[in-house]
């Protein structure tokens, strides 16, 4: 067991975790933040994507002990009174069907828009599709997900 202290969605948290606890298990089972999903559990699908110190990572492929001292943002932490522009864009563009992949898509979408804005690169359709390499959707066929992210990128 190790004691970890971290910030999750702006809240400071200190807890004991066993050393083999995955970050996603910690988020879902200890903190009861079940918006972060486990799709594949083999590092492929991105349903478990969260931000650690502002960067998208797969929380099924990181130990909770490694997150000691970091700032974590999950899907529950992005709305600020009203929906985040990325959430709104998924709503407006019908960017989801069953919704299972959506938390990961939204966290990946926010991360890519932030990175492209910071480096002044155009986030065109081809770039969005390339950036979505690590996020799998079994329902939508991706077209509306790509539209949603393009729409949000003009509003963020």
């Amino acid at each position: 067991m190790s004691k970890i202290s971290l910030t999750v969605n702006g809240r400071s948290i200190s807890k004991e975790v066993s050393d083999n606890t995955l970050l996603v298990e910690f988020i879902r089972e200890n903190l009861r933040l079940t918006g972060t999903h486990v799709g594949c559990d083999t590092s492929q699908c991105g349903a478990c994507t969260v931000h650690v110190d502002g960067k998208s990572i797969k929380s099924c492929t990181m130990l909770a002990v490694e997150a000691d001292g970091s700032q974590i943002t999950t899907i529950e932490g992005i709305a600020n009174g009203e929906l985040h522009p990325m959430q709104q864009a998924f709503n407006d563009n019908h960017g989801l069907q069953c919704g299972f992949c959506t938390p990961g898509m939204i966290m990946a979408g926010i991360d890519m828009v932030n990175r492209y804005k910071a480096s002044n690169k155009p986030l065109d359709e081809a770039a969005i599709r390339g950036e979505l390499e690590g996020n799998i959707c079994r329902c939508t066929g991706y077209h509306n997900i790509v539209r949603s992210i393009a729409d949000a990128s003009t509003k963020m």
């Binding site: 190790s2 066993s18 050393d19 083999n20 995955l22 559990d41 083999t42 590092s43 492929q44 991105g46 994507t49 650690v52 960067k55 998208s56 990572i57 797969k58 099924c60 492929t61 990181m62 130990l63 002990v65 490694e66 990946a108 991360d111 890519m112 990175r115 480096s119 950036e131 390499e133 690590g134 996020n135």
Partner: protein, 260 residues
């Protein structure tokens, strides 16, 4: 995942001594290979020694070389102005953005997956691998599939890449895993031409003498295309036969030459 005990190393030497003290310890870098392996119960280290705080991350120029710390992530290499474009592009094509935010060059080279991208750059650019014990030339480092020259308690500190006059990497990614089905790195420096192939060889990354000779003679796509690439010793699996991989080596060599 089996139980394990987590430690933080404060330096590469500290990591080596913690590794030596552990019953069956393993270094933990970005965890993008090791954690999935542990989850599948293919690995069950008694102790994990994290290199996160070991101060072996970062990129700096050293004359005509770039020195990349072992814990530098693929995303950091991909976006660094100190890294030549041919190497930054390779790092930016590894896996997906989330994998690139965690995975490191040290972890990739220590693992030596036969389909990993970095080993081809190390061989073609004549890199040197610096560890807590010594310096190893890339030519002596990669010893076969998942095999390297690293000793048990040896920790990679950095990788030194001399600048090439011209170089490029072309990769045909497996559509599902994004690892290389075949990747070809071509480089020319000071009159020497090197061509390294990853993803294809039964013994992991290798240099292709036929392509090297042809490209040393004339660095053109036609020259690459004129080389008969043999399927002997190439991987054959559900993703493609050895003949298919041989054809991909020609195609990727042409693309890399065109891009260099």
């Amino acid at each position: 995942m089996y139980e394990t005990t987590f430690h933080k190393a404060s330096s590469a030497d500290d990591a080596a001594s913690k590794l030596g003290a552990a019953e069956e310890g393993k270094l933990l870098a970005g965890g993008q290979t090791l954690i999935p392996t542990m989850k599948a119960r293919f690995a069950s280290p008694s102790d994990l020694i994290s290199l996160k705080d070991a101060s072996i991350s970062g990129i700096c120029r050293d004359g005509d070389s770039v020195v990349i710390g072992a814990m530098t992530t693929h995303a950091e290499v991909a976006s660094s102005v100190d890294v030549p474009a041919y190497l930054a592009a390779l790092a930016g094509g590894i896996g997906d953005p989330a994998v690139r935010h965690r995975g490191t060059i040290g972890g990739s080279i220590a693992n030596n997956d036969p389909a990993a991208d970095y080993p081809s750059a190390c061989l073609a650019l004549g890199a040197t691998i610096r560890t807590n014990q010594r310096e190893i030339a890339a030519a002596d480092y990669f010893e076969g599939m998942f095999e390297t020259a690293l000793e048990e308690d040896e920790v990679i500190i950095s990788v030194v890449f001399p600048d090439a006059d011209k170089a490029a990497y072309a990769k045909f990614p497996n559509p599902a895993s994004r690892y290389a089905m075949v990747g070809v790195f071509v480089a020319q420096s000071g009159g020497e031409t090197r061509v390294a192939v990853t993803g294809a060889g039964e013994d992991g990354v290798f240099r292709h003498e036929g392509l090297e000779a042809a490209l040393a003679d004339s660095f053109t796509e036609n020259s690459a295309a004129s080389v008969a690439v043999s399927a002997d010793g190439l991987l054959s699996d559900i993703h493609g036969s050895s003949e298919y991989r041989a054809a991909l080596i020609t195609a990727m060599a042409k693309r890399a030459v065109a891009a260099a």
